[in-house]
């Protein structure tokens, strides 16, 4: 700063601006998979009252799954984007039927412990099978390289992740607000007992909703595969950020999860760029501010499930 002539100062400012745009896109793309995973967490919490500690591990399974599909079966990213969420849906249904459902009537703590244990188990199983070093994955064909808009160069894949997650979040939003299934899910989330008394078999919806939430975590994992290190422990840091997101957005709020997901992605990217030594801390400072100003989170009004 404080240049002598006008010309270089302008260039410097332009460059700052270009950097800023790049960080923004980077933040929005990271925010994309945060938003998807947080959405899954929120839907599960809403419908089952379960805080899924295994969500980070499911995200990791999504990424590892994509890497295995590519490395072992030569199945590419685009196919993985469909196959992995389907597999994770099945996995979620299995877990809910085999384990979660038996603890739903008990104290919330039991499902804390169960999903926490499940996360450890999944991480160790993957470690045993694939070791601790990262699995390779490449940016999918067609999305390599940069696009240049004006004088700013942006990674194509980051733009894709942002756009794709916005589309998925919108689709989920429409599903919840415009369809009969969505209406039932909202009602059951708000008042499960009362909804039963109105002739709706709420229990029938619980299993698919859990599967759906897990599928979203898996989908986030596939999206992350091309630009995050794919390791067994990649979910452990992720789940901490996810919880910060859910607290910021408001526990159980679906809109809150999405908005806070993108917000945290941005804050993290700016943090890494402008305050690298505090980049993680920045998220938790944001969380602390939100809790102070709005203890229930940005969108956390108990009555508003959506």
């Amino acid at each position: 700063m404080g240049g002598i002539s006008v010309h270089p100062l302008e260039t410097q400012e332009n460059r700052d601006m270009e950097d800023f745009i790049q960080y923004t896109v980077q933040g929005l793309s990271a925010g994309g998979f945060y938003a998807l995973a947080a959405l899954g967490l929120a839907v599960i919490f809403g419908a089952l009252g379960v805080v899924n500690f295994a969500h980070g591990a499911c995200y990791m399974l999504g990424a590892v799954g994509a890497a295995v599909l590519l490395g072992t079966f030569n199945i590419n990213f685009w196919a993985a984007l469909v196959i992995i969420p389907l597999l994770m849906f099945g996995f979620g249904v299995l877990i809910e039927r085999l384990l979660i459902q038996w603890l739903l009537r008990l104290d919330i703590l039991y499902n804390f412990l169960l999903t926490f244990g499940l996360a450890l188990l999944l991480v160790d199983l993957v470690k045993r099978e694939y070791g601790v070093s990262g699995l390779p994955y490449e940016v999918p064909p067609g999305l390599e390289g940069l696009v240049t808009i004006g004088s700013v160069s942006i990674q194509k894949y980051q733009l894709f992740v942002f756009a794709f997650s916005v589309v998925i979040c919108l689709a989920v939003w429409l599903l919840l607000t415009r369809t009969r299934v969505g209406m039932i899910v909202r009602a059951a989330t708000e008042e499960p007992e009362r909804t039963r008394a109105l002739g709706i078999n709420v229990g029938r919806w619980v299993t698919p909703i859990f599967g759906f939430g897990i599928a979203l975590a898996g989908l986030a994992g596939v999206l992350a595969a091309p630009f995050r290190a794919i390791t067994a422990s990649m979910g452990s840091n992720f789940i901490i950020v996810l919880f910060a997101i859910v607290v910021i957005g408001g526990l159980g709020s679906i809109l809150g999860a999405v908005v806070a997901g993108f917000l945290v992605g941005l804050v993290e990217a700016y943090g890494q760029a402008y305050a690298p030594s505090f980049s993680q801390l920045v998220i938790f400072i944001l969380m602390a501010i939100v809790i102070l100003v709005r203890p229930a989170g940005l969108f956390g009004r108990r009555q508003e499930a959506v």
């Binding site: 209406m183 039932i184 909202r186 009602a187 989330t189 708000e190 008042e191 007992e193 009362r194 909804t195 039963r196 008394a197 109105l198 002739g199 709706i200 078999n201 709420v202 009555q303 508003e304 499930a305 959506v306």
Partner: protein, 230 residues
């Protein structure tokens, strides 16, 4: 239509209903009158299947429902209008109305509902909890009428509402009675109860202490008011 026989219910150790027998015949409006804490809401919850800790029998149109879940009982024709009106904050007025399935062909069409309650048509896109107390009560009743429930459980529908609205609710009850729907009405408003009901059960400390037809009920109104402590 509804037969409750020798029903006793508890919350854990605390017994709140003892040996209660109540019958509602087809097309009949029957009230349960009693002080706060007498166990009226608990009895309705037992009928709905929301309170399962009871002994004795409940049958609907001759068929026992004790083993059935709340959603099965609703599908069998029991319509619950809870004391807090049961609005969903995350659902619009129209969604609040159309959430439950139609369980019987006699269910009111949405148009019929909106004609009977024009305010619901006007406010169909508002959220359920943005309605006034009276409007919420109308919606809660309209919801079970749309389902086509054959037995309505109304839990203090007149409570806290302005006289005009209470009067309107009375009209609705008389109208659905004409359609052959049975009503089990919980009330503390003795005057209101006497304008709509055929028979009355007095409930005190979890027991039925008296059963009266409406003429007796009206004749003894002042005595009952004292008894109820209202």
């Amino acid at each position: 239509m509804l037969d409750i026989t020798n029903l006793s219910a508890s919350y854990g150790e605390a017994r709140v209903l003892t040996d209660v027998s109540v019958t509602v015949n087809p097309g009949e409006v029957v009230t349960l009158v009693g002080r706060n804490g007498a166990g009226k809401t608990t009895l309705l919850k037992c009928v709905m299947g929301l309170h399962r800790d009871y002994e004795g029998g409940i049958s609907l149109a001759g068929a026992p429902v004790d083993k059935r879940s709340p959603d099965q009982r609703a599908k069998a024709g029991i319509g619950w209008v809870p004391d807090d009106r049961g609005m969903y904050a995350s659902l619009t007025v129209a969604e609040n109305l159309t959430l439950p399935p139609v369980v019987h062909s006699s269910g009111w069409s949405l148009d019929k509902v909106y004609d009977a309650f024009p305010v619901l048509r006007e406010r169909r896109n508002s959220m359920g909890t943005q309605l006034s107390g009276g409007e919420q009560q109308m919606l809660a009743i309209a919801r079970v009428l749309r389902m086509g429930s054959r037995l309505l459980l109304l839990d203090e529908p007149s409570e806290g509402l302005a006289p005009v609205i209470v009067q309107r609710i009375g009209e609705i009850i008389r109208e659905i009675k004409k359609e052959g729907v049975s009503v089990l009405l919980v009330e503390q408003n003795v005057k209101f109860a006497s304008t709509v009901a055929d028979r009355h059960y007095l409930l005190a400390q979890g027991r039925v202490v008296e059963q009266l037809d409406n003429a007796d009920f009206q004749a003894r109104e002042s005595e009952l008011l004292v008894h109820l402590g209202i």
